[in-house]
Amino acid sequence: MTDTLTVRRVSATPDALIPMDALRSDGPTYAKLVDISKCIGCKGCEVACKEWNDLGVEPTANFGSIQSHQDLSPKTWLLMRFNEVEIDGNLNWLIKKDACLHCEEPGCLYACPAPGAIVQYTNGIVDFNQEHCIGCQYCVTGCPFDIPRFDANTRKVSKCNMCIDRVESGLEPACVKTCPTNAISWGSKEDMLALADHKIETLQSRGYENAAVYNPAGVGGTHMMYVVPHGDRLEDYSLPSDPTASPAPMTALGFLRRIGAYFLSFSVIGALVHFLAYGPERLEEE
């Protein structure tokens, strides 16, 4: 089964806020489901991501955590974050797979002024197209999850692309493929939501009564979702509790730029009409 990569939204098109009508929609809408309760913190997914995407090694230093790097970077698209938190008197090791969540309503794409630099496909993947990126970094601020990273040398922004080249060929992303405990699942969004429900039921029967799926409505849902054992402690996992893509100013800007070029053209036309009506002023010589 291969994916047709039908385009859904393209950055800096007049109607970037409105998804396109898909001409072909024969592929499924994918989602990655990360069951945090099953993660053993091996970071095999980080290595697989580096390998598949050819991101290279970034030296790091021990900063008092098992975490490999302190932050995402243009060469580190996936980082397992480890937060040590005390819950009910016990030390808990809260893990977050920090990478692009592939929002249904992508704040990065809405913010992007470079035509074609960010593309959302009907399969749910939001991909950066560095060829068209102008390095303005508006996507960095547009992202409610603080994911895109700017490379000061290339002046391009990059992030997890959900291994779009693998998905296109009918394969799962590299992190999914490599996970030894099957903490990361891959499939259609519907299937993954159903799987999440099942996992949450199991967790609740084991005493995690606040277990929840993380699929925030403020960005229209995401195509990487989490099963969070302590669903009432999202901040402790470094997960924003109410992320939004704030389309309001973009709607205003979209309206203004629709009329703006005409407005300027009318000032030129106005001057021309005035010139035709009154011509150049002629002063009689004294």
Binding site: T13, C136, R155, A248, P249, L256, F263, A271, L283
Partner: protein, 204 residues
């Protein structure tokens, strides 16, 4: 008899005017390129998308310095007096070339003064909203997007005024543009357009 010339703008005034004018046009083209996908090709003015992104703010910085100097050297001449208010009331006659119905203007007529105040305001708003757009990462997404809205609206205002300014200063009123080239105007032009200034200049 040789045409009598009056000095209107000093070398420094002309230099600053053209620094601001040329940078404004470059900024207008590249800014419009970022504002609408159909106009993105205008980034070519500064070498394509990525280099336009780098250079637009630097050109903006030069523009801003020029704009600040311009405000400093001209602000004292730009406050409106009663004569200017009467001039504004008769602006329709000015546009229709009914010169006899327009109250006499000083060195600057009220239209030029209003142009100064609006462009000064737009220039400051461009600078204030442009700095976050230059260094976007420290700012909240919504704040940044509203800055883009403000930056764009003042561009439209300033751009439309620029068209009017260039039109009036060149083809509509021949003899005006030379004030910004060699710094002089003819006495005949001055008496017609700025009678009170002409009087001051010729009295001494």
């Amino acid at each position: 008899m040789a045409t009598r010339l009056l000095d209107r703008f000093s070398f420094f005034e002309r230099l600053i005017h053209w620094v601001v004018g040329i940078t404004f046009v470059v900024l207008l083209f590249t800014g419009l390129a970022f504002s609408h996908p159909s106009l993105f090709w205008l980034t070519t003015v500064l070498g394509g998308g990525p280099s336009a992104r780098v250079l637009h703010p630097w050109v903006g910085a030069i523009f801003s310095i020029g704009m600040c100097l311009m405000i400093l050297i001209w602000i004292k001449d730009m406050f409106l007096d009663d004569g200017d208010r009467r001039w504004l009331g008769a602006v329709r006659h000015y546009a229709m070339r009914e010169t006899d119905k327009v109250p006499p203007a000083g060195k600057y007529n009220a239209g030029q003064k209003m142009f100064f105040w609006f462009q000064a305001m737009f220039g400051i708003l461009h600078l204030a909203s442009g700095v976050p757009l230059w260094f976007p990462t420290g700012f909240d997404a919504a704040v940044l997007q509203w800055m883009r809205v403000i930056h764009y609206v003042v561009t439209l205002g300033g751009g439309a005024l620029l068209v009017v300014h260039v039109y009036l200063g060149t083809v509509a009123y021949p003899g005006t543009a030379r004030a910004m080239i060699d710094g002089t105007v003819t006495a005949r032009w001055a008496r017609h357009h700025h009678p009170r200034w002409h009087e001051e200049q010729t009295r001494s």
